[in-house]
């Protein structure tokens, strides 16, 4: 599959709901892409989550079990997708996490083409 390259003139034109599970972005170059909320949260680019992911992959080698907090579902429930500067979205989650700034470049890579 050939991946189209993102450049700074490609920004979201429309932001739509994709059922209960995610969103769809229509980009200014005409492409449509879908994103699942849980995929987005797992790809959170903030420093803390990046570090957690790195440590997590080390821990998986052992036998540690993660204890999920009561509000685990909130982790994957966004409360707002907010344009940030001219280059990114900040996604605010129901568990209070709000430090992830998803650049359009990153989102363009993460998206799955809409059928």
């Amino acid at each position: 599959m050939t991946q189209r390259r993102h450049n700074s003139s490609i920004v979201p034109q429309q932001l739509l709901r994709w059922g209960d599970q995610g969103i769809e972005i229509v980009w200014t170059d005409g492409s449509r892409m879908r994103y699942r909320f849980d995929d987005l949260r797992r790809a959170c680019p903030c420093a803390e989550c990046q570090e957690d992911r790195q440590n997590g992959s080390d821990a998986d080698a052992g036998i540690s079990l993660t204890v999920l907090p009561d509000n685990a579902a909130d982790m994957y429930t966004p409360t707002e997708i907010r344009p940030t500067g001219r280059y990114a979205y900040t996604i605010l989650w129901a568990d209070g996490h709000h430090t992830g700034i998803y650049s359009f470049e990153l989102l363009y890579q993460l998206g799955r083409p809409s059928p």
Binding site: S8, S9, V11, P12, Q13, Q14, L15, R17, I23, T28, T77, P78, T79, E80, I81, R82, P83, T84, G85, R86, Y87, A88, Y89, T90, L92, G96, H98, I101, F104
Partner: protein, 376 residues
Amino acid sequence: MATGPTETDVLKALSGIIDPDLKRDIVSLGFVQNMTIDNGTVSFDLVLTTPACPVREQFRQQCQEAVGRLDGVNTVNVELKAEVRKAQAPPARSGDQDAPATPGALAGVKNIIAVASGKGGVGKSTVAVNLAIALADTGAVTALMDADVYGPSVPIMLGLVGQQPEPTEDEEKILPLEAHGIRAMSLGFLTDTEAPVIWRGPMVHKTLQQLLEVVQWGELDYLIIDMPPGTGDAQLTLTQSVSLSGAVIVTTPQDVALLDARKGLHMFQRVNVPVLGIVENMSFFACPHCGKTSHIFSSGGGKRTADKLDIPLLGQIPIDPAITEGGDSGVPISRSAPDSEPALAYRSLAGKVAAQLSTLAMQPDNPADIPGMTFQ
């Protein structure tokens, strides 16, 4: 009895007038409003995109000529007005307390302009202060935020040393100070001017966020942010957390400074902030004794860099001892010597910055329209 022109006739005559920045005619841009035609007297408002429009008088004259040529017109009254368009991303709608602070706190601000430099010592703060005053002088509501956490100089330059901002009535926020027709906030108002700020990156980040969040700016046409010099943590914080409408890069003409200006440009491009152009400070020195001009820091550097990077050279500010005196005494040169060459250069700069922002705001694919979404 001859009848005068209809509104359609007048609009048709006016549609031949093209805005040189926006490259469209003033009728389709929606500038012509509230027209009345009464017995050969045609009156209307010309609502420009900025009071700092460099060609406002030219517009008035062109309108008067175009309409005056119509049959049955005796008098043409053109009232110039301005309504600054918003060039930044829309404010957030949610009331989420935990959310990043900037969008809501800056909701009433139409344009946020960063004044940056790749290195220190190029007179960035002086340019920021005088640009803010020059914009305010056109009638635009303007504020200046001193984000240079390590060396806040705005308190001295505006003559506000020792003054402290007051809290709002509900004590939730603080009010900016006012001087020389602009609102201003600086970390220098809140810390000891003598003590150096020795902070690591995260502290700087947090402080700038708070400073942006806690100030009740009110409705503003322009907010100028005097950025810290360089391209480090603090600069990134600001470019990443505030919806900047555009950036102005200050440089001096010598090659080393220009190299750094290029870095500044790339930082803004990386985060998709439009760079409005370069300001060449300390461009030349006009000797007050012999009148001869000397290019102390070599000449043409700003122009060459601007051409190479394909961005406009917005202005060249001469060296004048009065600039420094003005800055140190708390009365910027735009106030102390409004007819001096530097003050005129600042006024022209303000016009160009405003025109560039209007152009951006009027573009159909302006990223200010990037959609957001809230969830119940």
